[in-house]
């Protein structure tokens, strides 16, 4: 078993964090995992993406040519990575920003208004955690609580514990919608 997940969006949408929390959660549940960021100038204000591979044997390639899951937080990300999603794979699309997606290949499309949900919760920056909740559901490898624990650890390390509650709610909302 080896599953590739790509998170992609604008810089500042918490793309790298969502991927890191997923990697941390998978590691804590005993999976082999890699987290590979796009790095360099493209991260500043432009597009950001990261690739997480979850496997039950040591991960070979950290780059994924055919991801099983794509989180497209904006239109350019859908255009760039959508055509690469594996047949039967899933695209979790931020329908708050992409109203009329041009659908690609054989991938299934799961539109979720990530920004609107986060806004309802009072924290638009939690859109990434809504997406992550949906990813955990689609993966079906471990309970959402694993992601919540990994998130608590990550926010704790950054001294941002007060954001935990709203982000937990965001995880649950995404999980319920997938």
């Amino acid at each position: 078993m080896e599953i590739g997940v790509i998170f992609a969006g604008f810089g500042g949408q918490g793309i790298l964090l969502a991927g890191k929390v997923l990697a941390q959660a998978a590691m804590e549940r005993g999976f082999e995992v890699t987290w590979l960021p796009s790095y360099g100038p493209e991260m500043r204000g432009g597009t950001a993406n990261c690739t997480v591979v979850i496997a039950d044997e040591p991960v070979g390639s950290p780059i994924v040519d055919r991801p099983q899951i794509l989180v497209a937080m904006n239109g350019p990300s859908l255009e760039r990575f959508g055509p690469r999603v594996a047949p039967g794979g899933m695209i979790i699309l931020n329908s708050s920003l992409v109203k009329e997606p041009s659908v690609q290949g054989n991938a299934r499309l799961l539109p979720i208004p990530l920004n609107d949900i986060a806004q309802e919760l009072g924290e638009v920056r939690a859109a990434n955690m809504v997406a992550l909740g949906a990813v955990v559901k689609v993966l079906g490898l471990f309970p959402l609580e694993a992601a919540a624990e990994a998130l608590a650890k990550e926010l704790g390390a950054r001294g941002r514990e007060k954001l935990l509650e709203v982000n937990r709610q965001a995880l649950w909302r995404g999980f319920a919608l997938a």
Partner: protein
């Protein structure tokens, strides 16, 4: 306990655990996290972190710390390593142990910050001037990066030969679970009676790479090359994966090595008998094991993030016993497993 770390962070932490107490650097992408980690953590262990005014200054600070008997390290990426080359040659000439980490990016020149393997020649065949070698170790996972940094300090001390970790931007930037090696207690690092520690109650030691008399200098270098031959006998490291029945073996190191592991798995699923030979020590290069493999495997396909540098050593090892085609990418482009697999299929049939 496993922790999720970037390659750069894991190499820094491993250096601290190996007893590195002097780290000198000049920042460059894509190894910035190594610098940041050392800045945050090394002083807490009683060590010296110093961001120098240039790469040249940093490597000469390493020379000084090494001469004083301290475990010392510097890190950089390709263009910065080029600037350090003069100092590295001096370290080799003066028989000073030190660890140099090169998180390679694409060159020549300023190039870009994407992962590449174009510094193989520089690392293994000189780079600086004169008749010398570096111990060169190439990790392909974050776990192995941590372990090889520990090993590099030990080997460098044991042989009094500088050691280089040849990584690349992908390995530096990516995160993986790591089981960190246990720290070496300070008392367990073997003493260095040759070091410049103050000549109180003993004859002064001399650390130098200089001798005007060619005959005397020849003897110094003969002794040095005897050490290199000993390293070649004792320190060759490599990994083989699914080579037993292989009709084609991929030869790749570092990041390319792990990507080729995925290629092997996919090829096997399609019924293609493909294996992987992954050099871990690039110098000393695993010539003999590769030659043995070439006795029974008809095709050895070298894959590198370069125009073909390690490829020359592969051909030296094989000496015509097998076909030795090459597949490489340039400029920081990393081929996908799919692309490599289609290259494999040009040479082997199911």
């Amino acid at each position: 306990m496993k922790v999720l770390l970037r390659g750069n962070e894991a190499m820094a932490e491993a250096a601290i655990r190996a007893g590195c107490r002097c780290y000198f650097c000049y920042p460059i992408t894509p190894q910035g996290e190594l610098v940041e980690y050392m800045a945050r953590h090394l002083p807490r262990h009683g060590g010296v972190f110093l961001q120098a005014e240039s790469e040249v200054a940093a490597i000469n600070m390493v020379y000084g710390a090494a001469a004083a008997g301290v475990r010392t390290m510097t890190s950089s990426s390709s263009p910065g390593i080029s600037l350090k080359m003069e100092g590295i040659s001096y370290l080799a000439g003066a028989r000073l142990p030190a660890v140099i980490v090169n998180v390679m990016r694409a060159g020549p020149g300023l190039g870009n910050i994407a992962p590449a393997q174009g510094d193989y020649f520089q690392a293994t065949k000189g780079g600086g001037h004169g008749d010398y070698r570096l111990i060169v170790l190439a990790p392909s996972t974050v776990q192995e990066a941590a372990e090889l940094v520990m090993l590099a300090f030990d080997l460098s001390d044991r042989y009094r030969v500088p050691a280089m970790i040849l990584a690349d931007g992908m390995l530096g930037q990516m995160m993986e679970p790591v089981e960190l090696p246990e720290p070496i207690p300070p008392g367990r690092i073997p003493p260095k009676p040759w070091a410049l520690t103050g000549a109180k109650d003993r004859a002064p030691n001399v650390v130098s790479s200089f001798d005007l008399d060619p005959y005397r200098f020849r003897e110094i270098l003969r002794a040095l090359w005897a050490v290199y031959r000993e390293i070649e006998r004792n320190e060759v490291r490599w990994e083989e994966y699914a080579t037993e029945d292989a009709e084609l073996v991929l030869v790749a190191y570092g990041t390319m090595g792990r990507i080729c592991r995925t290629v092997v798995r996919r090829a096997r699923k399609e019924g293609l008998r493909v294996g992987l030979f992954r050099p871990i020590s690039l110098w000393p290069f695993p010539y003999a094991p590769l030659r043995r493999l070439a006795e029974r495997v008809p095709v050895l396909l070298t894959v590198e993030l370069s125009a073909g540098q390690m490829w020359e050593d592969v051909r030296l090892a094989v000496e015509g016993r097998a076909k030795t085609p090459f597949y490489g990418e340039l400029g920081g482009v990393v081929p996908t497993p799919e692309e490599i697999l289609s290259e494999v299929k040009k040479h082997v049939r199911g």
